[in-house]
Point group: C2
């Protein structure tokens, strides 16, 4: 049986991602789903934590600093989403994480770990020529996700 128990929406502050959040909230309300709003901060520096080959070994405290930075960046966006969810009585969790390898990899890993049933993400808009450059994140998410993906423009 099809149920969207947990919906993940990726947030980067763009108009498209906030529109994606509106769709995710709407679907969460219809399906009585739990919503997770995820912001991913890409950090090359974070890579050192894994490889020790980059700019030096990262200490747990600097990882925490990066996480704080991601959280701070996302605070305003998360605030809007939390308010909308409260108005509609939707359970919501917000999370800011660091992507040491790639944003797509971080989103895919997170969505698998959290066992989400749907990922909602923003794509880029159309150009004047009615062509579109799909955000590389959106394209990667669609390619590697374990669950349905909704691209909102």
């Amino acid at each position: 049986m099809i149920r969207f128990k947990r919906i993940l929406v990726t947030i980067d502050g763009s108009t498209q991602s906030m529109k994606a959040a509106d769709y995710a909230i709407n679907i969460a309300q219809k399906y009585d789903s739990e919503l997770i709003a995820l912001h991913v901060l890409y950090s090359k520096t974070g890579f050192a934590f894994h490889s020790e080959t980059a700019t030096g070994l990262i200490t747990p405290s600097s990882i925490n600093e990066l996480k704080e930075q991601a959280k701070e960046e996302a605070e305003k966006w998360f605030g809007e989403i939390i308010k909308k969810c409260a108005d509609k009585n939707i359970q919501v969790k917000t999370e800011a994480i660091i992507a040491p390898i790639s944003i797509v990899e971080a989103i895919i890993s997170y969505s698998e770990k959290e066992n989400v049933d749907l990922i909602v993400t923003g794509g880029r808009g159309r150009s004047a020529f009615k062509k579109l450059i799909l955000g590389s994140s959106a394209s990667g998410i669609v390619t590697y996700a374990h669950c349905p993906v909704m691209i909102v423009k």
Copy 2:
């Protein structure tokens, strides 16, 4: 306000496309939407109808023949979808069309003409290496659609 008044699902007989239909039916029920199940038959021959440069000018009767062929091909798939929609009291329209240029172009044009609010389409599954080759149709639809697109795997 977000509403899915008309949902388009693309059908090609693959397992993924029938799974996409199940998702589309589920969402249509939640949103009280009208569902359109679309099968597109790609026909190079049909191109002659537009360009007159290919294998000769196509007559209206041969276009009709092609359409009949597409309908016949889709009959079994459409039947299943119609039955499921009837059980759930969902209004459904089935359509088989010819793509003289490309399948993606035909789906995009159709979705604009019919003013759909959501396109649901199947993507290919994961390979043993957890990589995935997204169907080229799915990728094209995501790229050019005027509305949100849900990729079901």
